[in-house]
Symmetry: D2
């Protein structure tokens, strides 16, 4: 069940990069939520490749089909099946890639794990697997928007050494994020990041980056101690995204340098509701949402595939050299925001439904 | 099932700080592993409070009982039940703590979640809950040591702004770590960290810190794509520890600043085995262990309880001031290493058993 | 996790017949349900041995301790830990039982499964394991009584060839059932059953029986298609009880002999509520409760341990003869009703909480 | 996750009778098992309607597509996605069926559960949902045949009052079963059963039946105490099949009438292997397979849809009359054997992989 995420609101993804299709089954979604293919398509289009010079040239329409679970425009409470048929599968010559383990890629690990692998385009470790997550995550976003007005916003916070840093997020909108080709809403930095990516691309290289996530109108009381803490599940969710190598919430690693008197968020009550003056906790205390905004940051390593030649070993144990061909994003962080939002929404939707049992 | 962790090798913890006892049930442990109470006790003693001036004055022997699952000195394959009876429960006066929400604590969130709470000592959000994790985690460490010689070493990497930084970990041993009162194996830094903690304590304050984990002799091929990736489960495991606010593996956040040509670990084959020249991946590629050392780092916020007076709100919505009494660690990171090792061992033991199904 | 049952309202049992203790952890119970040890004790006493000449002479007080999860007389929403320490462990001579596989017992299977076994008293396959189920099941009964007035009644329907058959269950009460030494509420049959059991006991033999379960005031809409159908989970729950070999719901096997025109329960609406004229479905259609009474029947094989001498094989492969000593129930069905009720209540409590997610 | 079955070898089914498609995702299947669409098709054809006058006239080719998880003719260890697109969806007039609750059907329960339902053809409660089970179950049968030579044979044991009874199953083959139009391998009874079904059909009625399952070459030691006992999971698996109302294993209900001296299966050792002289246990003791044949029996109620007019209530609470139109099997048991085999194989494959952890 390692391709299944969640306990009540559960998604199971399936599919390889170069198979017939990729998709997901969403089980446990409440009945009665309005849903159509266009809802999903709008979010899928945000992760689609072929959107410009910053992403892979692989061109896919990634058109989603809903095969079950929706009747007369509403979810029925039964499993919702999504499928996206793969179109742009260049048959090409895979002999090189079948032989040599690409550095930074999971090729070797898949062979160690399963004894052999679908060597075309990374198989199951391909970013195309995340299509299923976005399908289900979009339903989660719709659901939480409906029941609580919850809003998910993820953007590129840094590319290589170009860091956007803090800015006033009160006026941040998805439109501002998507208006930037690198998905950084601060224009000055957006341009610098774009240059950084294009420079890497020109060198046949790639570059890393970080992504920030802000969630507004978070229902309080979400998170199930002790192992399904909200922050613990967010961490799992984010690290499960290909290329993600780090996660922090609220003050995160900076908080480890602070004193308690500085870090503790003062609680106050206003109009019958509890709030905190600061938000070092990132909206999560003791693993449970306190109703403040969730704020977290994720590190993405540079894309493993580069066109520069690299030393490596072959399946047969020969040491040699490999120059990758193919089409790849020079910076994976740029397409990550919608995936980050999707995974976060899956976590929150599941915890929202779990919380129903705690107080009857 | 939010108090259960793992899919095959599963631990369920139970118990509150001021209840009768705390403990855990370990289900799914293979039969035939030598185990006795002294094995567990040795590790529990590492997390025990009352060990010196750096930890809480609360003095507990924390003596473990194994109530089931072991026969004639070996595990039977059936559930192993651990219990540690609480001894030092000062009855005391809880009226203040019952009324005022402690800033940085989960008091408010527990009330929001369950409608009321066991206000004595943090209830389920208390660090005493981790006793059950250490019990089960110790079995996991024994199991992996037996089948693969796997070794887990966690130490304090920083306290406040005092950072130990990199050192040669090849000669690192648990003895060296435990010889330091702050569990930092580099003597010069150990002393500085100790001063930092004592200074905070003297001010009625607390201080944060980071912990590093090194795992040697990691079996290759562990980690179940796509959601139960090794790094994703480690992230969940670590963030589920009280006060942990960040996780990174291998190059982590620093990797997000790098280029692919620099970050990719070159693969080579020697004596029929595959290795990498560098270890930016931290032993985990595509969510699967590649056999190299696992290296990760965790951020712990400063202890929430401080004796300085703080503004806060009461359960009834009154805004006021609270000065906490009671006995607390000025820096939680110091007692975290054995908990970090335990959680990591639980993840690896579970994935080890899951991997048995992939290649028959 | 094979010692865990349920998805939201989950029980994990632990303990062997001759270990230090047996018990259970109940995780996922809503907060705020009144609960004390006496509540549990009253139900545990119903399964306790040593109650008369019809059950084993083994005498245990089976006194339950609640170690966590209850504060000021109410459940807190956190794990509830139950323990019953074993008292009457005759040390005795186990060499015979360690050597020879008892026919009808799980001795051989445990050796095949785990490589060795705790041979004292059946270890984990002992009926003492069900103590943990009754602890958690009693909480489930209390919970459902509180939220829906649900009532569980199980009784002995047959012993050997003595069958109680149908009677008017409208006036059935637990008191009537418990007033019978064999737990058959129809006096005439109760006496015959008692004779049947005593006759078997006198012969050094044992006898089988069936148990019926009636559930009143069942909330409608419980049961999660397609695999967690109410009837499917009841079947699993019942067959998981030691010695249970058969399950049927509603018309059951008799329904397989009927025509649709006879079997279909006519639906009608009265006072805004839907009912059926007959109840061949046993309260469950398409795996979902329809609000009618649940009625099912379970087959229990005769107790495997008998004092007559039997042919069997030894651990070492020697074929020979074994005459069991020890204290055993001549008819397990007699003590089964409270276990049956407990398992059914665990199923319904879990499904009740799951149903909260379907319609918001 | 109620549409997911199994813990390691897990199937998730999706799809409604009149949606675009039905299918399943099989996650956790070991890598390296030869698999192609024709393997699945051969088993799907056994459950296909339109095979003769005994089954529904609805004609579907039910052609399966494997969308992922197979590469170069072998399973890759990653999720295998199956889809069967629905073809024969008569658009027709659903106004009657949308209004009136069909007696014996889940219409009312789905409305109670989800607030509304896909009223076309039963939606998710349709037998078409079992297509996904057969897809995954066929892989399970292939897998177990490969690793242990395990063989699953299910047949119709009775139709209405016509009971086939015991016969020598040593020479039973799938060919003999499939040669009978009612899937009863005993020719004399096969003919009587056929008459019984045709008589019911002629009357616009339906009839119930029972199905027996025999499993040969069962690996010993399968079944995970205490809740995932082999017999408990088989019971859940069978009762989860639409229309199944009863389950018994080995002596089952007849065993409840026996004495222990008669019921206990004598164990003997021959050639280093343990066997039993009789098989009242049905191959399962203490919830664990002992290596003998598994034998169990399931009760199927008569098809709920009949063309005779029936009293019932409408969605709006009106009491009236309904005469169903549409195409239906007069006896569901006839198509059940391949579904029964599939579910049993899913249980055993999962337990086979779980057993790998118990003895290393």
């Amino acid at each position: 069940m390692s391709s299944t995420f969640g306990k009540i609101f559960t998604v199971t993804t399936w599919g390889e990069s170069h198979g017939l299709a990729v998709g997901a089954v969403l089980d446990g979604c409440p009945a009665g939520i309005p849903l159509c293919e266009a809802d999903i398509q709008a979010f899928l289009d945000r992760r689609r490749p072929g959107q410009g010079k910053l992403t892979t040239a692989r061109s896919e329409k990634d058109q989603v089909r809903i095969l079950s679970g929706v009747f007369e425009g509403k979810t029925t409470g039964t499993p919702i099946s999504f499928a996206v048929f793969n179109e742009d599968q260049r048959s090409g010559d895979y002999s090189e890639i079948a032989k040599w383990y690409r550095p930074g890629h999971a090729d070797l690990c898949y062979d160690l794990k399963y004894g052999f692998r679908d060597y075309r385009g990374g198989g199951r470790s391909s970013a195309r697997e995340t299509i299923g997550r976005v399908c289900a995550g979009t339903v989660a976003q719709k659901f939480l928007a409906q029941v609580a007005g919850t809003e998910f916003l993820a953007w590129v916070d840094s590319v290589g050494t170009i860091e956007c840093g803090s800015f006033d997020t009160n006026t941040l909108t998805r439109e501002k994020i998507e208006a930037s080709p690198v998905r950084c809403p601060v224009e000055a930095f957006s341009e610098k990041m774009e240059q950084e990516i294009l420079a890497a691309k020109k060198d046949g290289d790639s570059v890393g980056g970080t992504v920030k996530l802000l969630v507004r109108n978070v229902p309080a009381a979400l998170g199930e101690p002790v192992f399904d803490r909200l922050d613990a599940l967010l961490a799992q969710a984010m690290l499960s995204i290909p290329a993600c190598k780090g996660f922090e919430i609220g003050s995160g690693f900076a908080g480890a340098r602070m004193h308690g008197s500085e870090h503790n968020d003062v609680i106050f009550c206003e109009g019958g509701k509890f709030h905190t003056r600061t938000n070092n906790a990132g909206g999560c205390v003791g693993g449970i949402s306190n109703g403040e905004n969730i704020l977290c940051r994720m590190a993405f390593k540079p894309t493993a595939t580069i066109s520069q030649s690299q030393n490596t070993a072959s399946r047969d144990g020969e040491n040699g050299e490999l120059a990758a061909k193919g089409r790849h994003d020079p910076c994976v962080a740029v397409r990550a925001p919608v995936i980050v939002e999707s995974m976060a929404a899956l976590v929150l939707a599941d915890l929202y439904l779990q919380q129903l049992r705690n107080r009857l």
